[in-house]
């Protein structure tokens, strides 16, 4: 592999979705304390509208696969594998929601069915093109957390 190939690969890794940016907290460096993550993963405030799109997008959060959400009534087919997220912000503080979305296993235990969206603690035989990548980017996690923080009853 010559030098320009190496830098092409490096660039490809940097700009492909799921790869972390230099300023982001790396998946392995996220600090969980008392079932919460107090520091933002990016330092950039989350955008709740973006977060709502990530929440319903089947290729991104696909949260509706498992969670019903009354504020997304127009979306077809809400799953019920998990409790509804209605009123999630009444039950959890933003830093707790960040911990749940980043790596649910840190909060609910290793048996939970919920995937870790910014974690490299994943299953075996990960699809080759996804090795070393998280489901969501750090900013997408911040956006989803900002969205969840609006879900009050």
């Amino acid at each position: 592999m010559n030098l320009s190939k190496v830098s092409q690969v490096a660039l490809a890794v940097l700009f492909s979705s799921g790869a972390s940016f230099a300023a982001d907290v790396a998946p392995g460096d996220v600090k969980f304390q008392d079932l919460a993550v107090t520091t933002s993963l990016t330092g950039v405030p989350g955008n709740p509208e973006e977060g709502a799109s990530v929440f319903k997008d089947r290729k991104l959060g696909n949260c509706l696969a498992c969670h019903a959400n009354s504020s997304m009534k127009s979306e077809l087919f809400h799953g019920d594998v998990a409790p509804t997220v209605d009123g999630a912000a009444d039950r959890w503080k933003p830093e707790e929601l960040r911990a749940i979305v980043t790596d649910s296993k840190q909060v609910f235990g290793s048996e939970t069915v919920m995937p870790g969206f910014y974690s490299l603690n994943v299953g075996v035989n990960v699809r080759e093109d996804l090795v070393g990548k998280t489901i969501l980017t750090a900013q997408q996690v911040e956006d989803v957390v900002a969205y969840l923080a609006t879900l009050k009853e």
């Binding site: 594998v81 209605d86 048996e111 069915v113 299953g123 990960v126 996804l130 489901i135």
Partner: protein, 284 residues
């Protein structure tokens, strides 16, 4: 405090879930195929995580259930008929068909679909119907093994299993090394795969009876395979279904008939012990 609110949230889902789906329960109905009663609920064998094993039929919508109950409405029966033709077709250098040696499948193949996979002493590994067909084609007919999921492979497998329609699934784990393959299959079943970090049990055990998006999660039984799927308009083999479920966890798919998937087939078949063979079952 948090525990209590979570419990309330779960109770609320049980109610609000009704707004999205007809029912989260498997139906309380009895399956008759052309009037013949099927065992679609059976007491689980010892060591099984559930008390009762449930046919996937109980989890499907009314029209899908109706299509399986009537063989004229079941499009999979056309594949079974195709299988019957292949059964009697001469192929390979020995100039033989399946029928040359096995005669009338209604007699000689009855029960085969209920007790496979079985131990294959020659290969020193379990053998399922698809692999047995290949074994006979290669060793007894001088023909080639089928490519995985060739239409002929699926049709002939469905034809053979259909000869056991209604008979309860029962494997003999005392043959050869079947027990250690069962153990290996169990490991595979509970191993989380892929970026989504899910095992078969995450969906078909922990979430059985729930909806994942539009899909009503069943116990993931194989007693109706190959199944006819309206979605894809054709038969789906067991190993294809396994590969699809693994792919959905964002994992690499193991090769068909690999040790891993064969062990899984042994174990998952055992998890359906006592259910009637329903081949070809109908799915949406």
């Amino acid at each position: 405090m948090k525990k209590i609110s979570l419990a309330i949230a779960i109770a609320a889902t049980a109610v609000s879930g009704l707004a999205f789906h007809a029912s989260a329960e498997p139906v309380d109905e009895q399956l008759f195929i052309d009037g013949q009663e099927m065992i679609s609920r059976a007491p689980a064998p010892e060591g099984h995580p559930f008390d009762e094993v449930l046919s996937g039929w109980l989890f499907r919508e009314a029209e899908t259930r109706a299509a399986e109950a009537d063989s004229f409405a079941n499009p999979g029966m056309l594949d079974v008929e195709r299988g019957e033709e292949i059964w009697a077709t001469v192929e390979g250098s020995a100039g033989k068909s399946c029928a040359s040696c096995h005669n009338d499948a209604a007699e000689t193949m009855k029960g085969v679909g209920a007790r496979f996979p079985k131990w294959d002493a020659d290969a020193k590994r379990p053998i399922d119907i698809e692999l047995q067909i290949d074994k006979c084609r290669v060793d007894n007919m001088g023909a080639e093994a089928y490519k995985f999921d060739a239409d002929e492979q699926k049709a002939l497998t469905a034809y053979i299993k259909h000869q056991s329609l209604g008979m309860p699934v029962k494997l003999d784990l005392s043959e050869g090394e079947m027990q250690s393959w069962w153990d290996k299959g169990k490991d595979v079943y509970y191993t989380r795969t892929g970026q989504l970090n899910l095992s078969c049990a995450s969906c078909h055990e922990a979430s059985m009876g729930k909806y994942i998006r539009a899909d009503h999660l069943s116990q993931g039984q194989v007693n109706g395979f190959p199944t006819y799927r309206f979605n894809t308009g054709g038969l789906v083999s067991i190993q294809n279904r396994f590969r699809g479920c693994i792919r959905d966890t964002r994992a690499e798919m193991p090769k068909a008939f690999s040790d891993e998937l064969l062990a899984l087939e042994v174990y998952v078949t055992w998890r359906g012990t006592g259910l009637s063979v329903e081949t070809p079952a109908v799915r949406q």
